[in-house]
Structure formats: structure tokens, C-alpha cells
Symmetry: C2
Subunit: 374 residues, 2 copies
């Protein structure tokens, strides 16, 4: 029994938790940089709540709202320059995984000079701007992880800054910001969270703690799936209640706590290419591949696969694959040349070393083929 | 859904984890104060491992080995004076709950002046000496909590310093230091950990996270119980393997993570008097009362009581009471006047406010009577 547990972020959850707990922002700094995407933080009320809380604590702020989906290295360097120019001393991220992951890179780069070739090296000084996070989707778990996933055009994939420095100091979770999320985003992000918890259980770093959280998270997400499918079928999100939004947010929090301990596995490794080359949403990419990877795991570790399938309240891996097909509808067209290329990229990622059942390049190719060509 | 999760201590677990991870001590300071009891840290190898790690990192140290069982307020003021005199800048606690809880008080009092009447007020400056912890019993969970439980002779009970400041920076968990623990201590501490996890599930602050950890912890302890009973019967600890020591240590870690979120309940509130006035070991006191409290809970929340009993792999509360009787043998003699007094003290503790099912003074009296006079 050898392992480490570490997740130092303070998590505050509940309705209006930002405004009610504004004093927690007090210790962060005197001038904050709000890091967001272009629209949703303004539309869903989260940015307004943060501003209200900052004003009540007498904290000044600037806004950097230029984070795109799957943020680039260029974006975080730009944000860091802006942070330095405006002399902010803390960062507040509001949004889905993209603004949150970008904010971590910005917080690091605003505090110390790191050249682009060293950005993913892990070789940093122990300084960073303190951060508060407000997730406005329920999937990434970035609010409780030490990862900043950025698009690296040179490497033609996503890569991770992974350092304990970039755990946020505090994260505020309030499902009300998710009420206007569309069905597709809600499903994609929920399945991203599901993938985190399942992959955590399939990691060499899985522990009693991460497994206990993962099983709860899987159960919570699966309890919401019938309503998600109904919303998809009726094209109407009103069947997704606020209570369900909170549950999905809670489940994604647990999924984040899981991968903070375990990292992700082959599913994420493979999914990155789908996102980079085919612009397939991250959660959707994971969901499309999850069942095939679990099928591979089942061959070597049938008991473990069964524990996961049971936590999902299913009986066999095929049912998970069917369910994902129902969630995601028609699949993208991908040819065998593309698959060969993606398999070759996936096998080189760090995520593969995390796998309890390590696929080889042929296995990875086979999983892509089963997903897209059968 | 309203709650907070916070447990910022880095936990390192595994054989020889102190020496293998000595670099984690590097950031704590330049001169450490080792806080221990009189004997066990020297006898079980933990102090030698810490010294080896400190020396390999070039960190100087002093030793304060005057912590008694159920440490007093006087003891922590004395330790803090010694820390200031020796100009240490960090604290390393080695031992069971007593040295660990004392070390937290010392770390706080060495960094700031707090008068005795303010010691339990929660009103502190945000400074403390950084701490590393090495538990050498598997029960308290103090290595991952924000509590320092001290004996307050003026109030004739134990009282808690409770502040996020006193979470240790890092805790090292290695079951090998427990190999020479006697049967009685092993059982008492295991049941203390069991009580933490059960009480966590009975707290108003219970959450999905704390419940998930509590259930795992309860299962792990119950898996060790047959061996503990065998060791008790044969008066031979050799049936308690190193793997089992690790499991108990792991379970007590989870129990600590649970109460860091939930606090403890009526069981601890009642147990404090048994320890203060009758010198009954803390874990034993909790164990003797746990079944009676669960019986009270069962009347109002039968489903919750069943979840806990099932996690123990038992069928009814009576079986838990029987099991505790087997673990603890003949009970201490306590008369009705004493019970009245203890009930009156217990009802005034903060722990009662944590109870999902709040006992009144008559209920508490009845639980004592059922435990000691029937």
C-alpha cells in the first residue's frame, strides 16, 4: 500500500454560495483578474455574483474574457501579460474547463517567467497567483485539480501543466449557473465527469479514497441520465431540474477529486486527437471511447470492470456502449489513416502510463475502429 | 445541498515513506521541534526515521518528549515556551492522538500569543508553525484534522481548539510503527476510528464525500475485527499482520478525513467525561457508548442506522453492542450520581449540535444507564 492523497482546495457548495462566502475572497489579494470566456459568465449570473462579492470585500478587478474553447498556449501567455500589465495579485476563473484551465496557466505565468519550451516541464518556482474558481459547467472537475490542459499546436494535441501549485485556493459550486445550459453541453460535460470517475478506477494510482469518491460520482451521474435522455429526445431542458444540476455538479466535483489523485487514462489519451483534429467536444470524445476501453479492461480485469458496470446500474459493457450511442447520436466520419495517426499519438501520451490495463498501439487502433468504423 | 469540503494536508502512505520522502520536510523550516510522548516514538523506530530524514535534508531539531496521555493545556503552553526558547520554525509530531493534538496547540502558541481564556475561542491570527505528523497508533485521525483536543481542568472535560490553521502540512503513514502495539491499545484505537466514521455519518454536516469515506473506513475496520478478537483471546498480537496494521491505519486516516468535515457527535460528548473522571481510554469510552447512541438514532432514522449496520456487515444494533462488549470485557463501575453529572456536562458540549438525531439530557442519561447499569 503506497500512495499519496492531496487536494488542498477549499470547496464551498450551495445556492448563492459566492455572495454568502465573499469573505473567502478577502485573503486572495487586492486586485483580481477575472478569467472567462466571451459570453456565458456574463449571461448566467456567475460574473455578476463574483463582482458583487468582490465589491463587498473592497477588492478591485479587471476582466480577461478572451478564453476560447480548448484554450491555446498563446491564450495563456496573452492572459498572463494582461495580468502583469494590470498588476493583479489574484485570479478568479469563471466558466467551464476552458476558462478554468487557462486561468491556472495565467496564474502561473503571471507569477514567474516560463518559456514555452518549459511550459509542460513541471520545473517551476514555487510561486503562483492565488486563485478562486467558479465552474459553470458540470464536467471538467478543474476546480479541484492540479492540471491545466492546453492545446499545443506544435505537438498537435492537448498537453497538461501538472503541478500542485495550481490547485485553486477556493472553489464555489452553485448549480444555478447551469440552468440555461443546452442539452448537448449538459450531456457532454456529464459524460466527461463520468469518464473521470471511471478512468480513475482504471488507473494504477487508484486508491480506497479515489475509488470511494468515483463510485459515488458514477452513481449520481447515472441517476441523472434518464432525465438527460428525456431532455435530448424532447429537445427541452426543463426536465433537468435545479436539483439535478446540483447533483451533476457534485458528481463532477467528485470526478475532479478522483483524477487529482489518479490522473486520466487511455480514454483521454485517445480523445485528445478527436478534439484536436476533428473538433469533437472533449466530453463527447471521452464518452464515445469509454465503453471500448472498458471492454479491453474487462478481458484482463473482469471483476474491476463489473464493479464499474454495477456502479452504473448496468449489467454489461455493451449496455454502456449502447447508452453512449443514444447520448451522442450519429458519429463523426473518421477514416483508417486518421485512426492510425491518432493511435500513434495516443500511445505516446503520459496518460497511457496511468493505465492499470495498458493498451498497445494495436489495441488503441482497434478501439478507434470499433468506435468509428463498425 | 450546502456544504464545505476542506482537508489540505498532504498524506503520504507506505513502507518507509518518511525516509523515501524526506524532501517534503525541506519546505517546513530550518529547525524542527519533535513533539512526542516519553517512550513509544523512540521504541517503534518512528523518531529514528524522522531524524534520519531531517539529517538528510540538513534540518536541525530539538525534542520535546513531555506529552502525557490526554494532554493538558499546561503541557501545550510549556511546549510552546520550549519551542520559542529553542527558536524552532516548524513542528514534527510523532505518536498517537496525544502528541499530535499537543503538537497542534504548540504550533499555534509558539507562533502567536493566546491567553488561556482565549485558547478555545477560535479567535486567532492567521499564523502557525508548519507541521509534519507521524501517527503511531491507528485511531485518532488527528494527522488530517483541524482539531487539537486538550484536557481543560477548569471545565473538567476535554475541549477542542478547532481552526483550519492547524491542519498539518504533511502526514506520513507507515504501519510498521504499530507492530509492537499491544492488543488493548490496538482495539481501543481501532474502535476510536470506527466511532469517527460512524459519528460522521450521524452528523448534520455529513456529505456524499464524508459518507463515502466513512463507509469504506467502517468496512476496513470490521474486516480486521476477527483478528483483533483472536489476538485478544490468545493474548498474542502476532495474528495482527503488518497488512492489517496498514489497513487499520488507512481506516483511521479515512475516519479523520470524515470528522474533519463533520465533527463528532453525542458519543464523543459523553465519552469525554468517562475519560476525564474515570480515566477510561478515549477509544474504549466511545466504543462502549456507540451502540447505545446508534439505538437512539435508529428510532428516528431507521434507514440511516441500517446503512451503518450493513456497512459493519451486521444485521442489528444489538450485535454491535455485543461486539463492543466482547472487545472491551468487564466495564467500569459508575453510579447514578456520576451519570447525572456526566449527562449534564455532555448536553452542554458543542458536539451535541452536530447530531442529526439530537439527544436531550434524559436520553444521554438513559444511554449511560444502559451502558453501565443494565
Amino acid at each position: 500500500m503506497n500512495y499519496k492523497y492531496y487536494m488542498p482546495t477549499k470547496v464551498i457548495m450551495g445556492k448563492d454560495c459566492i455572495v454568502k462566502n465573499s469573505k473567502l475572497l478577502k485573503g486572495l489579494g487586492k486586485k483580481a483578474l477575472l478569467v472567462t470566456g466571451a459570453h456565458s459568465a456574463k449571461a448566467n449570473g456567475s460574473q455578476a455574483d463574483i463582482i458583487k462579492a468582490l465589491e463587498s470585500e473592497g477588492i478591485d478587478y479587471e476582466v480577461f474574457d478572451k478564453v476560447m474553447s480548448n484554450p491555446t498556449i498563446k491564450c495563456v501567455y496573452e492572459g498572463a501579460e494582461f495580468a502583469k500589465e494590470k498588476q493583479v495579485d489574484c485570479i478568479i476563473a469563471i466558466g467551464g474547463g476552458s476558462p478554468m484551465d487557462a486561468a491556472k496557466g495565467i496564474a502561473l505565468l503571471a507569477a514567474q517567467d516560463i518559456t514555452e519550451d518549459k511550459l509542460f516541464s513541471g520545473d517551476y518556482e514555487a510561486i503562483v497567483l492565488p486563485m478562486a474558481f467558479v465552474p459553470t459547467t458540470a464536467g471538467t472537475g478543474s476546480e479541484v485539480t492540479q492540471y491545466s490542459i492546453l492545446t499545443n499546436d506544435k505537438a498537435q494535441t492537448k498537453m497538461s501543466i501538472a503541478t500542485e501549485l495550481i490547485f485553486p485556493k477556493v472553489s464555489f459550486l452553485d448549480g444555478k449557473y447551469m440552468e440555461a445550459l443546452g442539452v448537448t453541453t449538459t450531456i457532454n460535460t456529464a459524460i466527461d465527469a463520468l469518464s473521470h470517475s471511471v478512468e480513475g478506477m482504471l488507473s494504477v494510482k487508484a486508491s480506497t479514497i479515489s475509488d470511494a469518491l468515483a463510485v459515488e460520482s458514477i452513481k449520481m451521474i447515472m441517476e441523472c441520465v434518464p432525465a438527460l435522455l428525456k431532455a435530448l429526445e424532447k429537445k427541452d431542458t426543463s426536465v433537468i431540474t435545479l436539483g439535478m444540476r446540483d447533483k451533476l455538479l457534485h458528481a463532477s466535483l467528485l470526478g475532479g477529486m478522483v483524477i487529482a489523485q489518479t490522473g486520466t487514462t487511455a480514454v483521454h489519451a485517445m480523445g485528445y486527437s478527436l478534439t484536436y483534429f476533428k473538433d469533437i467536444d472533449h466530453g463527447r470524445a471521452n464518452g464515445l471511447l469509454l465503453g471500448e476501453y472498458l471492454r479491453l479492461v474487462e478481458k484482463e480485469q473482469p471483476d474491476l470492470a463489473q464493479v464499474i458496470i454495477k456502479a452504473m446500474n448496468l449489467n454489461q459493457v455493451d449496455e454502456l456502449i449502447e447508452l453512449m450511442n443514444t447520448c451522442f447520436g450519429e458519429k463523426e466520419v473518421i477514416n483508417i489513416e486518421e485512426i492510425n495517426r491518432y493511435a500513434h499519438l495516443a500511445i505516446q501520451t503520459k496518460n497511457i502510463n496511468n493505465c492499470l490495463v495498458k493498451p498497445n498501439e494495436a489495441d488503441i487502433k482497434e478501439m478507434f475502429v470499433s468506435t468509428f468504423l463498425k
